[in-house]
């Protein structure tokens, strides 16, 4: 009995310890600025612009990431095709990139390359534009989502899918009606990670979208810009805003997840 309680206690203790450390670290950010100035900073046009742009681009990127990582994760888990483990490794790879490198790689891909030129002919400009923010966030977050969703699908017994198909549903419908809902936990995890990752993407966006004041300015860039301006209040405020928004979003997700079970 003692043994058991100790293990449980140990695990919960660790959870609280790290939550506490993180909380302290985050809280100390909140203590730097003067609350009044934070309020003022919040009201600036720049901050409002940046906040809006951050949320919108993150949501859009999140949607695209989820739309794409689900079929990719499914294909990697259910079908076998030559070169699969290389494909999996390449898809995982950008996780290991400092954002600067990923940004650079995307810049080369969508900049003056044939792909970039091709897209530009269709009026699609990625480099130094808002679209670039989304592309940057998308490529930064996609690998995480794919990896998580892949390993979730691996856990699902294919017999569920067979039953659905023998009841008349095609592969595609079965995927929607059965595989996807069964992957719920993994989808939640990857949605949370994707959204959070998109909110926090900095270096990739900076290189690909440029980081222009009040144009491609998302919260992490506001933060950096304001540090550069020597405007610490404003910088920390955008950091705090980022934290609060993310916290609310994540908490909402977590509550929603808790509800569904």
């Amino acid at each position: 009995m003692r043994y058991g309680i100790n293990f449980k206690g140990f695990c919960i203790f660790l959870s609280f310890l790290f939550t506490f450390l993180l909380f302290l670290a985050i809280a100390s950010l909140f203590l730097i600025p003067n609350p009044l100035e934070v309020l003022n900073a919040l009201k600036t046009e720049e901050m409002i612009y940046s906040l809006k742009l951050s949320i919108i681009t993150s949501l859009v990127s999140m949607i695209f990431v989820m739309l794409l990582s689900v079929p990719i994760g499914y294909a990697l888990s259910r079908y076998s095709f030559p070169g699969k483990s290389v494909v999996k490794s390449i898809l995982d790879l950008p996780i290991a990139f400092p954002e600067l490198v990923l940004g650079l790689a995307l810049l080369l891909l969508f900049g003056q390359s044939f792909i970039g030129k091709f897209l530009e002919d269709f009026g699609i400009k990625i480099v130094f534009t808002k679209l670039g923010i989304i592309v940057a966030q998308f490529f930064t977050a996609l690998p995480y989502a794919v990896r998580i969703i892949y390993s979730t699908f691996e856990e699902i017994n294919p017999r569920y899918e067979l039953v659905s198909r023998s009841l008349g549903y095609g592969e595609f419908e079965t995927f929607f009606n059965v595989s996807l809902p069964l992957a719920k936990n993994g989808l939640f995890a990857s949605t949370i990670i994707t959204f959070a990752r998109c909110m926090g993407t900095f270096g990739t966006v900076l290189i690909l979208a440029g980081g222009s004041y009040m144009y491609t300015e998302i919260l992490p860039i506001t933060l950096y810009l304001n540090i550069s301006y020597g405007n610490m209040e404003m910088a920390i405020t955008s950091g705090i805003l980022l934290i609060i928004i993310s916290f609310i979003a994540i908490l909402a997700f977590e509550k929603f997840e808790g509800h569904k079970r």
Partner: protein, 247 residues
Amino acid sequence: NESQSTSTKKPFEGKTITVLCGAGLMKPMNELIQNFENETGAKINVHYGGSSELFGVLATTGGDIFIPGAYKYTEDAMKKGIILNDTVKNITYHIPVIAVPEGNPKNIRSLEDLAKPNVKVVMGDPNACAIGKVAKKILEKNHLWENVSKNIVVKTPTVNQLLIYIATDQADAAIIWEDMVTWAESKGKVEVVEIPKDKDIIKTIPTAVTIYAKKDSNLEVAKAFNDYISSDKAKEIWKKWGFIPCK
């Protein structure tokens, strides 16, 4: 006191100070630090970074010596009262030049050429980084700001981006610090177009001891280091790495 009682023992043995230094100064700074450590026995922790990152670190948790990429940051820090004002010293000049991609496809020869149609110019954000502010001033001084503005495709918060964009052909020209492009130029990634002295605005890179040195009782070492890197002896090293030391 004790450390001076034995002549063989180095004066700052066992002391450690932290230097916040612009990443662009890395090569000469590494050599200078090595020399200083050998002479004095002090241990120098150097923390390279972009000027604004360094400023952020300094403002939140400190560091003993502050050497940003441009005087502006030292000025900001002085306003915040975290610099010992009497220790501020200029080390080297910081010279803006025009950088263009390899082969100079738009044939940029002068500042005026930046205003030609169809030239894509990338600029530092005048509010965000020192090079941006300087570039704007140079253009204003030459009455080109308005026309060049139309050609600016992006204003970047960091100077590194300018080099990246030029080196990867994303833009046709940028105004950038000369010392930043020496390496890239020698590798044929970019070409440099000098700005005539009369049209240019030359800046300086400063060093200063911070109030945190006082708090950590590293003042003595910090001051010694501060003096050392702006000394005549150090100037040779700065020159060696392509910088032009201040008189």
